[in-house]
C-alpha cells in the first residue's frame, strides 16, 4: 500500500482540478495540443492505482483508519475504509478513468474544456471523499462538492434543455441535501458527535423513536440522489440534457456513491436493519415504475435514465432483504449496473457523436453503418435484461433466489416481470436504432471512432467475463457484503485507537 493512500485518493483529483485551468493556459501559450486531456487521464489512472494499492490490506479483512492531523476519533475527522468503501472507491476510480478516456474524443467539439475537466475531476474528488470518509459532516461536504459540480456539468452546453434540466436538478437536489443537513443537525443535537462509528455506538443507547425523524430525512435526501420513486423525476431530465460522457459518469459512479451512502447511513450509522423491508418495497416500486416509464420513451438517453432508475430498484431490493445472499446479490448488481449502464450511455453518446440525435424516431438501420457499436449495444442490452451468459443474469438471479429464501416470493415475481419489461424496452431501442429502415440522410454515417470504442469494448468484455465467471464478481463483492453485515467490526476498528 502507498503510504497515506486514503487521503491521496481524495487530494489527487482535488488538486488536479485546480491545476487544470493553469495547464489549459500553459498549453495554449506553448501550443501543446491535448495537454489537458492527457493530464486528466494521467490523474485518473494514478487515482485508480492509489485505490488499487489499498486492495490487499482491505480484502485481508483490515479496516484502514486514517486520522487527519493525528487527531484521535471521535475528535478529529478520519477516513475509514472497509470492504464496502473500497468497492465503491474502485467503481468510482474505474468508471472515472474509462469516462475520461471516452471524453478525449467525445468532447473535442466543445469549447470551454478547461472547465469541463476541472468539474469532472471535482466530481471524482467529491465521490471519492464520500466513499472514503468516516465522518458524517465530511460526507455531507463531499456530497455537496459532487452535487454542485454535477449541476454545472449538466448545464455545460448551455442549450435550453441543459439549463432547464440543471435548474430542476439543482432545486430538487438542494432540497435533498438540506434534508441531509437537517438530519445531521438533529443527530448532533441528540448525541453530540459527528464521527460515523461514534454516532453508531451512541445511537445504540438512544430510544428508537428518537431516531425516526433523522433517519427519514437521511433516507429521503439520499433517495433523491439515487432516484428512488417518487423522488426520481429530475433524473431523466438531467441525463437527457447532460453530455453523454457526463451521463455515463453519473449513471455509473454517482448512483453507486448514493447507494453506498444510503447503506452506510441506514445499516452502519443507525443500525436499522429493520427498515430493510421498507427499502425493499421502495426498490420494488422504483423498478416497476422505472421500467414502465422506459417503455414509453422516444429518446434513447431518457430511456436509459429510466432503465437506470429501474436497475437501482433491484439493488435496493437485494440490499433491503438483508440476508447474506440478498446483500451480496444487491452489491453485485450495483457493480454490474455500473459496468453496463456506463457502457450503454457511452454507446448513446457515440450515436449522438456520429448522427447528432438520440431521438429514436429519427434513427434506424444503423446496423449497416456501425456494426461493432450495434453488437456492443446488444451485449449491453442483454446484460441489463439479465440474459445469460452476461453478468446481469448472475446478479439478478442471486436477488431472485434471495427473495424466495427471505420468504418474499411476491418480490421475486415482480422482479422477474420487470426483467421481461427491461428486455422489451431494449428490444424496442435496438429495433428503432439499429434495425429497420434507414432514413436516407443516415447512409454515410461512420463507425464510432476507436478511442471512444475502446472503453465501451473494455466494459463489454467485463460484462461477458463476470457473466461467464460470476464467482470472480462475487469474490469482489464479498468483502463489501461482510462489511455491511459487520458494523460492530467497523465501529471497534475506528474507535479502537481512542
Amino acid at each position: 500500500m502507498i503510504s497515506h493512500a486514503p487521503i491521496l485518493a481524495i487530494l489527487l483529483p482535488l488538486f488536479a482540478a485546480f491545476l487544470m485551468p493553469v495547464i489549459g493556459i500553459l498549453s495554449r501559450r506553448r501550443g501543446i495540443k491535448r495537454a489537458r486531456e492527457w493530464f486528466a487521464i494521467a490523474v485518473v489512472l494514478a487515482e485508480f492505482a492509489v485505490v488499487a494499492s489499498m486492495l490487499p490490506a482491505v480484502w485481508g479483512g483490515q479496516v484502514l483508519v486514517y486520522q487527519l492531523g493525528g487527531w484521535q476519533p471521535p475528535w478529529g475527522v478520519n477516513l475509514a475504509i472497509d470492504g464496502l468503501n473500497l468497492l465503491v472507491a474502485l467503481i468510482v476510480a474505474g468508471i472515472g478513468t474509462l469516462v475520461m478516456i471516452y471524453s478525449f474524443v467525445y468532447m473535442e467539439r466543445d469549447t470551454g474544456l478547461d472547465q469541463y475537466y476541472t468539474l469532472f475531476l471535482l466530481i471524482v474528488a467529491g465521490m471519492m471523499g464520500v466513499a472514503l470518509t468516516g465522518d458524517i459532516f465530511n460526507l455531507y461536504v463531499f456530497f455537496e462538492i459532487m452535487c454542485i459540480s454535477s449541476y454545472a456539468l449538466v448545464a455545460f452546453r448551455r442549450k435550453w434543455q441543459s439549463i432547464e434540466a440543471s435548474i430542476k436538478y439543482m432545486i430538487v437536489s438542494s432540497l435533498g441535501t438540506s434534508f441531509i443537513l437537517l438530519g445531521i443537525a438533529l443527530l448532533y443535537g441528540l448525541v453530540g458527535s459527528l464521527n460515523i462509528a461514534d454516532l453508531a455506538q451512541k445511537l445504540g443507547q438512544v430510544s428508537p423513536s428518537a431516531v425516526i425523524v433523522p433517519l427519514a430525512l437521511f433516507v429521503t435526501g439520499l433517495g433523491i440522489k439515487i432516484a428512488v420513486v417518487p423522488l426520481h423525476m429530475w433524473m431523466p431530465d438531467a441525463y437527457q440534457a447532460a453530455p453523454s460522457a457526463v451521463a455515463a459518469l453519473f449513471s455509473g459512479a454517482t448512483a453507486t456513491v448514493g447507494i453506498y451512502a444510503m447503506v452506510r447511513v441506514v445499516y452502519t450509522l443507525f443500525g436499522a436493519f429493520a427498515i430493510g423491508i421498507m427499502l425493499a418495497a421502495l426498490g420494488l416500486v422504483t423498478m416497476v415504475i422505472g421500467a414502465l416509464m422506459a417503455l414509453a420513451q422516444r429518446d434513447l438517453k431518457r430511456l436509459l435514465a429510466y432503465s437506470g432508475i429501474s436497475q437501482v430498484g433491484y439493488v435496493l431490493l437485494g440490499i433491503g432483504l438483508g440476508t447474506v445472499l440478498g446483500i451480496q446479490g444487491g452489491l453485485f448488481h450495483l457493480f454490474n449496473n455500473a459496468i453496463y449502464k456506463t457502457m450503454l450511455f457511452m454507446i448513446a453518446g457515440a450515436i449522438i457523436y456520429r448522427v447528432g440525435t438520440s431521438n429514436m424516431d429519427q434513427l434506424g438501420g444503423l446496423w449497416k453503418n456501425m456494426p461493432v457499436t450495434a453488437t456492443l449495444f446488444v451485449v449491453g442490452a442483454l446484460a441489463i435484461s439479465g440474459v445469460p451468459p452476461f453478468n446481469g443474469f448472475a446478479s439478478k438471479w442471486m436477488i431472485y433466489v434471495a427473495g424466495i429464501e427471505a420468504g418474499q416470493p411476491v418480490f421475486t415475481i415482480i422482479a422477474l416481470i420487470t426483467s421481461a419489461l427491461t428486455l422489451a424496452y431494449f428490444l424496442k431501442a435496438l429495433n428503432s436504432i439499429f434495425l429497420g429502415q434507414r432514413p436516407k440522410h443516415l447512409s454515410d454515417v461512420k463507425e464510432t471512432p476507436l478511442p471512444m470504442m475502446f472503453p465501451i469494448m473494455l466494459l463489454a468484455v467485463l460484462c461477458v467475463v463476470f457473466g461467464v465467471l460470476p464467482q470472480l464478481g462475487i469474490d469482489i463483492v464479498r468483502p463489501a457484503q461482510e462489511a455491511v453485515m459487520n458494523s460492530g467490526g467497523y465501529i471497534s476498528a475506528v474507535l479502537g485507537g481512542a
Binding site: I212, L292, P388, N431, Q437
Partner: protein, 118 residues
C-alpha cells in the same frame, strides 16, 4: 481457483457449461443456415424489394416503426398504471417538489411504523 459452477443459495447455475452449450447451439444453427441452398436464381426488382402494404405506396420513413407505436399492446395492458404515473412526470418543477415532500412523509410514516413509535 474459480470453480466451474456456482451455487447461488438454492439454485444451481453452471455458467461455463451453459455458455458452451449456447455457443454450440449457435454454431449448429449457423451450420444449418449455411447448408441451405437456393434452388432458383434470385431476380430482384424494385417491386419485389418494396414492403407490401396492401398495395399502398409508402415512403421508407413511414415503414419505420414509430417508438410510440412499438409495444403499444403491452402499454395497453398497463394502461391503468400509466393513467396515474404519466401525469406525475409533467416536467413541472412544482410537481417534482410536491412529490419530494410526499415521499418524505411516506418514508417518515413507514419508518415510524417499522421501528414503532414510543
Amino acid at each position: 481457483m474459480i470453480s466451474e459452477s456456482v451455487l447461488f443459495g438454492r439454485g444451481f447455475w453452471g455458467p461455463i457449461i451453459a455458455t458452451a452449450a449456447m455457443l454450440l447451439i449457435a454454431a449448429v444453427g449457423g451450420l444449418i443456415l449455411l447448408g441451405g441452398r437456393r434452388l432458383t436464381k434470385a431476380k430482384p426488382s424494385a417491386g419485389k424489394l418494396k414492403t407490401y402494404a396492401c398495395g399502398e405506396e409508402l415512403e421508407a420513413s413511414d415503414i419505420h416503426a414509430d417508438s410510440e407505436q412499438f409495444f403499444s399492446p403491452i402499454r395497453r395492458v398497463f394502461r391503468p398504471f400509466y393513467r396515474y404515473i404519466r401525469p406525475a412526470h409533467s416536467g413541472d418543477l412544482s410537481t417534482y417538489l410536491f412529490w419530494v415532500v410526499v415521499g418524505l412523509i411516506i418514508i417518515l410514516i413507514s419508518i415510524a411504523l417499522v421501528i414503532g413509535v414510543g
